[in-house]
């Protein structure tokens, strides 16, 4: 179903269309909201309010941006104003610079090595697809994402879990494209490193 058909189904009161939309985005919405507001209970309230605002705003949805981008923009606005009321600053008011390397420096030969400067000393092995696409690895990826610093988590949830475009994410979060890219890079690199550790463990 494309966005236009989905919006028409929702306007017509189609419950299964609404539930499909909820299943697709509710979990990520909670993750994003919880980074603005002080408690899980408040995050749930904000997400509920967002769903109602989305339903009420359907007639005004023009389809210029994807529906999911619009939903997350409504969510970010609501979460931000709620955070203000609770006296919390926006999680993006200060950019959390973090200059950890993407890969442990010990994995590379020294930069003044005479033959292979800065080359892998222990090259990463290939990951078998059949092991990757298991429930276990999915769970590990989810835990790795939840363990990220808040800004990195928010960006990777919107970009890679939700599959939104960089422009839409920058607009929803009020962050520059460059900073968004740095956060995404840190987040993806860390998730990859966690997966690698699990791949290296012997199979149980």
């Amino acid at each position: 179903m494309d966005d236009r058909e989905l919006v028409d189904a929702l306007r017509a009161g189609d419950e299964s269309a609404f539930l499909a939309l909820v299943r697709a985005h509710h979990g990520s919405m909670l993750r994003v909201a919880s980074m603005f507001v002080p408690s899980a209970a408040v995050a749930e309230e904000v997400v509920q309010e967002t769903w109602l605002a989305v339903l009420k705003g359907l007639d005004g949805f023009e389809g210029r941006a994807p529906l999911k981008s619009w939903i997350f923009r409504v969510l970010a606005n609501r979460a931000r104003s709620r955070a203000q009321k609770e006296g919390r600053s926006s999680p993006f008011s200060e950019f959390e610079a973090d200059d950890e390397p993407a890969v442990d420096g010990a994995r590379f030969l020294p930069d003044d090595h005479d033959r292979w400067p800065g080359h892998w000393s222990a090259p990463p092995p290939q990951w078998a697809e059949e092991r990757l696409l298991t429930q276990e690895m999915l769970q590990i990826a989810g835990v790795a994402i939840d363990a990220l610093p808040p800004q990195q988590r928010q960006v990777i949830v919107l970009r890679d879990v939700e599959g939104q475009s960089s422009d839409d994410v920058c607009e929803a979060l009020g962050v520059s494209e460059g900073n968004q890219r740095v956060l995404l890079h840190r987040a993806r690199s860390k998730v990859r490193a966690v997966l690698e550790r699990h791949f290296e463990e012997p199979r149980r």
């Binding site: 009161g13 509920q48 993407a102 890969v103 080359h119 990463p124 990757l132 995404l184 993806r188």
Partner: protein, 84 residues
């Protein structure tokens, strides 16, 4: 966009600019330098593949909605429908 990368990249540099590459935020010259390194480097080829796999896995890692929340939202939907 102008070239920012050295002519010959090290693997240590590749893993730091890989997101710029995947996001297509590199000048054509840098893109070429990046690709020239990767095609001749087994480790970086494998690393690039792992990054793509990690991204795909994140895309499949959605949190399930618990039944209670789903019921509440369905009530909200019905309430909205009636008021329309």
């Amino acid at each position: 966009m102008t070239a920012l990368l050295p002519e010959e990249l090290t693997c240590r540099q590749v893993v730091e600019v890989i997101t710029d590459y995947l996001e297509r935020r590199m000048s054509l010259k840098d893109r070429t330098r990046f690709e020239q390194h990767v095609v001749t480097c087994v480790g970086c080829t494998s690393y690039l593949r792992q990054m793509k796999q990690a991204i795909a896995l994140a895309g499949a890692a959605k949190d399930p909605v618990d039944a209670k929340a789903q019921d509440e939202l369905l009530r909200l939907f019905r309430g909205w429908k009636e008021k329309k």
